[in-house]
């Protein structure tokens, strides 16, 4: 059981991001991957959440490109990581509209804006699936 008086799930996650790692949790009662980080596991209600580091490889599940008035479009995706959890992110180094569902992607950390912590983004891995 996490002690919320001394640490928060988000702070642990953020510390991993600062170390260049995409962290997630596994609910040891159900065996399921859990994201976003929590104090109690969804569904099972258990407190046995184990932190793990993702290999950082996943598949684009859904994608959109948001039009901006005075700048190029920016991409927002949902990525299914191979370990079985889904996160919102973006795919970089590719035109926002060229991102395709099914593309294999690999994580890297992008610097946060201002005093915000680094956060996970993706690039296309090899040839698009």
């Amino acid at each position: 059981m996490i002690d919320l008086k001394t640490q928060s799930p988000n702070a642990i996650y953020t510390a991993h991001c600062q170390a260049g790692e995409l962290a997630y949790q596994v609910d040891l009662d159900s065996g399921k991957a859990v994201f976003y980080p929590r104090a109690i596991a969804p569904g099972s209600g258990g407190a046995r959440l184990e932190w793990r580091i993702s290999q950082g490889v996943g598949t684009v599940y859904a994608t959109t490109a948001i039009a901006n008035r005075n700048a190029p479009s920016h991409n927002v995706v949902l990525v299914d990581l191979d370990e079985g959890f889904r996160i919102m992110s973006r795919v970089e180094e590719i035109d926002a509209l060229a991102v395709r569902i099914g593309m294999r992607v690999r994580v890297r950390m992008a610097p946060g804006e201002g005093d915000q912590p680094p956060y996970p983004v993706f690039t296309v891995l090899g040839d698009a699936a």
Binding site: N10, T14, F35, Y36, Y61, A62, T63, T64, A65, I66, A67, S73, H74, V76, V77, L78, R86, I87, M88, S89, R90, L97, I101, G102, G112, E113, Q116, Y119
Partner: protein, 381 residues
Amino acid sequence: MKRGSVAVVGAAESDLGLVAPGTTPVDLMAQATFRALEDCGLKLSDIDAVFTAASQLRMPTLSLCEYLGIRPRYQDGTGIGGSSFMTHLAHAMAAIEAGLCEVALIAYGSTQRSVSRAAASPREYNPYESPYKPFLPATAYALAASRHMYEFGTTREQLAEVAVAARQWALLNPMAWEKEPLTIAQVLAARMVSYPLTVRDCCLVNDGGGAIIVTSAARAKTLRQKPAYVLGVGECLSHMSISSMPDLTTTGAAVSGAQAYAMAGLAAKDVQAVQVYDAFSINTILFLEDLGFVKKGEGGAFVANGGIAPGGHLPVNTSGGGLSYCHPGMYGLLVLIEAVRQVRGECGARQVPGCEVAIAHGNGGVLSSQVTVLLGSAATV
């Protein structure tokens, strides 16, 4: 709960579209309440339960009760987005059946066009989504649309059909905001918001509100209007953020709809008029599928070629919907009002002939809360 135990007896919109500077959400609620009471012939003093939700009010039942000068014996300010009012109706039904109240007011008001959408509906910071700058809620629905297109071959033209059908219905509704025809080509060429959704795939941003009055079936029979009996209700909460939605092509409407049909003893084939919360064009396709009007994945083909427009094979969003009639932030109460009017048979040029059963389906958040209500005429109870 027992099908037909309560009925919507009064229904009214507030002023819609763009209201005068200084008008408050509670002004609109109160105006709609006055009109709904006039509609059914009840008095303010008859109301003994108040249900409301509003993104601009922290404690909306307190605001409305203070404004109206009433102290109801029951109240519920549940806020789950645009479907809140379907939930209020379900909860009012339970409360009336339990003897906690007899005459329930459900009201809504918004001035989001006047004060801006950002001011009317400030969003929570989410450390797992906000850094990516999603343009919410549109981006969430665009993600769902992308997945529907990928899995089922749904096209942008089919999405545009939803907006065009809504516009054709709106042209039959004197209260509708939009007054000019719309073509598929215009939808596709409109300003892109979050691909594949252009501004014409997205709901309007209006001021507006409404009110309905709900009471027992016994009392409903003594009042001015034909009762719209509540035949079935169902609720499903599936997630808060789009990144936590289990499957972007199947919404909680599949659960809430099944609950409502089971309670009513009805199926989709028994429904003559369909009102579903069309915040975005993809919504209509998802909800037609999840509510059983067409198989999963076939919604795009179903809406094509004017399938849900006037003269099509199923009348859907006959008011013109959130896309072309009015969308004041949480549009669900206006969805219910149109369903009530179709069951009464008072919709004029857009009336569905022989409408005995109407479905009013509410959506809230980013496909997050789904609440289904089935309403029926006296012939159905």
